[in-house]
């Protein structure tokens, strides 16, 4: 969103009046060597991102299976067969419901907590660096490492349950089919929050201080200032935060794989990416897995558009 303005503002070296006279206009631009400088990156993107992207769609429309390298086999076009198989699979349905539960918990919680904490961080001067660092630490740590502690904390006899005493859920958090997905959502919120706090912190710097001053003069309380100035002031950041949180949610793999022991209990915390791994790589059906990937990305796109409508307000 903001990038277009960056591009627009970009100055054109040599094009401004009064600079050195224009040298010969080359067909490839003034510094054609720029293409050579960009060549490795362009190649990288084409080979590792663009081509596989097309290939994913190709695989999803064909009867595709793994072969030894170099073996030429017939891979007939099967139309929407893989998609039909994916969409009629109850496990897939379950995983999408799970992601839905995840997003309903994770996205609002992330937006609310990160905005509140960023706002508090913006006010406080003492220990600011300490707070910033402590919020960011979970984000920079490998999920595999922190999952270990969460397993320990939320196990049957874990610290969380011993603190809760008799109100501890039974069966425990991660093996409880209603609580498994919310616990995963809570874990991811905790893990990613630091990044979103920083995003909001940056956005808060763009709200002119005078707005708060005049609102205070008008007698608006802290809460009204927050609601009427801060929240609309960081709207574009909120759009970005919801989008990124949604993408992270759709990408969920490590957490159901490790935290709930492979999407357990009984598939109550499977995620689409986990199913892609199971279907595509363990069971050797890359075609249905690719179709699931395409469906998932389309789903994320739709959700992102809806969110943009809701969060973005009228001006978007």
């Amino acid at each position: 969103m903001t990038t277009s303005s960056t591009v627009g503002k970009r100055r054109d070296p040599g094009a401004s009046p009064g600079s050195a006279p224009r040298r010969r206009k080359n067909l490839l631009g003034r510094q054609p060597l720029g293409l050579a400088f960009s060549a490795p990156y362009i190649l990288f993107i084409l080979a590792v991102l663009a081509y596989p992207l097309g290939y994913a769609v190709y695989i999803s429309f064909h009867d595709f299976f793994f072969t030894a390298p170099g073996v030429a086999v017939e891979r007939p076009f099967v139309g929407l067969e893989n998609y039909i198989e994916v969409l009629s699979d109850p496990d897939v349905g379950r995983s999408f419901v799970n992601i839905g539960i995840f997003l309903i918990i994770n996205v609002p919680l992330t937006v609310a907590l990160s905005l509140i904490l960023a706002n508090a961080l913006n006010r406080v001067t003492r220990l600011r660096t300490f707070f910033r660092v402590s919020y960011y630490v979970p984000y920079v740590t490998a999920s595999v490492a922190v999952v270990g502690v969460w397993l320990f904390l939320f196990s049957q006899n874990g610290l969380v349950n011993s603190l809760l005493g008799s109100i501890a859920p039974d069966p425990s958090w991660l093996v409880n089919s209603t609580l498994a997905m919310p616990t995963v959502a809570l874990y991811v919120t905790w893990k990613q929050l630091g990044f979103f706090i920083l995003l909001y912190l940056a956005a808060l710097q763009n709200i002119p201080e005078e707005l708060y001053e005049s609102a205070a003069v008008d007698g608006a309380g802290k809460f009204r200032q927050f609601w009427n100035i801060t929240v609309p002031g960081v709207r574009s950041a909120s759009v970005l935060v919801t989008l990124l949180a949604t993408i992270t949610g759709a990408n969920l793999f490590t957490e159901p794989y490790l935290l709930t022991g492979g999407g357990g209990p009984d598939g109550a915390s499977t995620s689409p990416v986990f199913l892609m791994y199971q279907e595509g790589i363990l069971q050797g059906n890359p075609d249905t897995a690719a179709a699931l990937g395409v469906v998932l990305v389309l789903g994320v796109l739709v959700i992102a558009l809806i969110q943009r409508r809701i969060v973005g307000g009228k001006d978007d």
Partner: protein, 308 residues
């Protein structure tokens, strides 16, 4: 934007104080502002506790002979301290091997990002050439492509077709050039005055020389930040190296620890102690690097996210 704001501010500040339920004279408004600081501070302190406690608990747990999950177990107990868990995890998964593999994977990605990313960043910021807009648009789009869509085709291509399973190259390839780092490089090169480069060109310096002798020395902090930013990706990455490496000799620590958690843990005498010990080893380098360079780290993220 700022123009739109001005009239609002003016009317707001000159308007009479009419909302009497929330109305307060100037003095108490600022007093209230001051009074709210402790609330913010308390909120932040609670937040910091929630964020840091699991790390503290990770470390304490890794030192316990017997896993103590009671509330008392959260405090250090000198009768229950041992280094045995680190020995135990090291017997199951070779920690040094894992760290070396993580290091090669991460180092390879950082190296490729610096070597190939800096010239692109420079070209995008300070060179005029056909297709520049396209390269820039591509760089932004790439960051939007979800990895799950690439999972299957990349697996088919890299593992099956190119036979790069259980190799560092296979691990590194999909992450080789970090597009966010390229964006950071571009932003920093953009801040340098274009006239500097024009002058060097008029003096007959080649683009390569301008890049290595003028541009790069001027953006050295950007290189540090981009390296840090690139570091966390591959160091913490689990899914891709997990798919590519079945051979223990090539597994990064995140993968071997995850395998330990999901398979072997049941057979260990103190699985939590061993898991937490492994977790500490995996977390320590990233946390230490981040705390050491926290200034660069935070400004990068703000810079790249706010502008992009």
């Amino acid at each position: 934007m700022a123009k739109d704001f001005q009239p609002t501010v003016a009317t707001a500040s000159t308007a009479p104080v009419s909302d009497d339920d929330t109305a307060a004279p100037r003095k108490s408004a600022t007093a209230r502002q001051r009074a709210l600081k402790p609330v913010s501070f308390l909120l932040l302190a609670v937040g910091a506790f929630v964020f840091l406690f699991p790390f503290y608990y990770m470390f304490i747990g890794s030192l316990q002979t017997e896993p103590d999950t009671s509330v008392a177990g959260a405090f250090p107990n000198f009768g229950n301290i041992t280094g045995q868990n680190y020995v135990l995890i090291n017997e199951s998964i070779n920690l040094v091997r894992g760290l070396i593999n993580s290091g090669i994977f991460t180092g390879g990605v950082i190296l490729c990002t610096v070597i190939f990313g800096i010239p692109v960043g420079y070209a995008l910021a300070q060179m005029q050439f056909r297709g520049r807009g396209m390269v820039f648009a591509m760089m932004l789009l790439v960051q939007m492509i979800p990895f799950q869509l690439l999972l299957i085709p990349l697996y088919v291509l890299i593992v099956r077709d190119y036979g790069l399973a259980d190799s560092y190259l296979g691990m590194i390839l999909p992450f080789a050039i970090n597009s966010t780092a390229v964006f950071v490089f571009r932003q920093y090169f953009l801040q340098l005055p274009a006239s500097l480069f024009e002058a060097a060109r008029i003096d007959g310096a080649s683009e390569m020389r301008i890049l290595t002798q003028i541009a790069i020395p001027l953006v050295r902090p950007a290189i540090v930040t981009a390296m840090l930013l690139t570091f966390i990706g591959p160091w913490n990455e689990f899914l891709w190296p997990f798919l590519v490496t079945k051979d223990v000799a090539f597994q990064p620590l995140a993968v071997s620890l995850a395998n330990y958690i999901s398979n072997v843990a049941a057979t260990a005498a103190n699985p939590f102690g061993a898991i937490l010990a492994g977790a500490c080893v995996l977390a320590a380098p990233a946390v230490a690097l981040f705390i050491g360079f926290q200034r660069q780290f935070i400004s990068t993220n703000i810079g790249s996210s706010a502008k992009g």
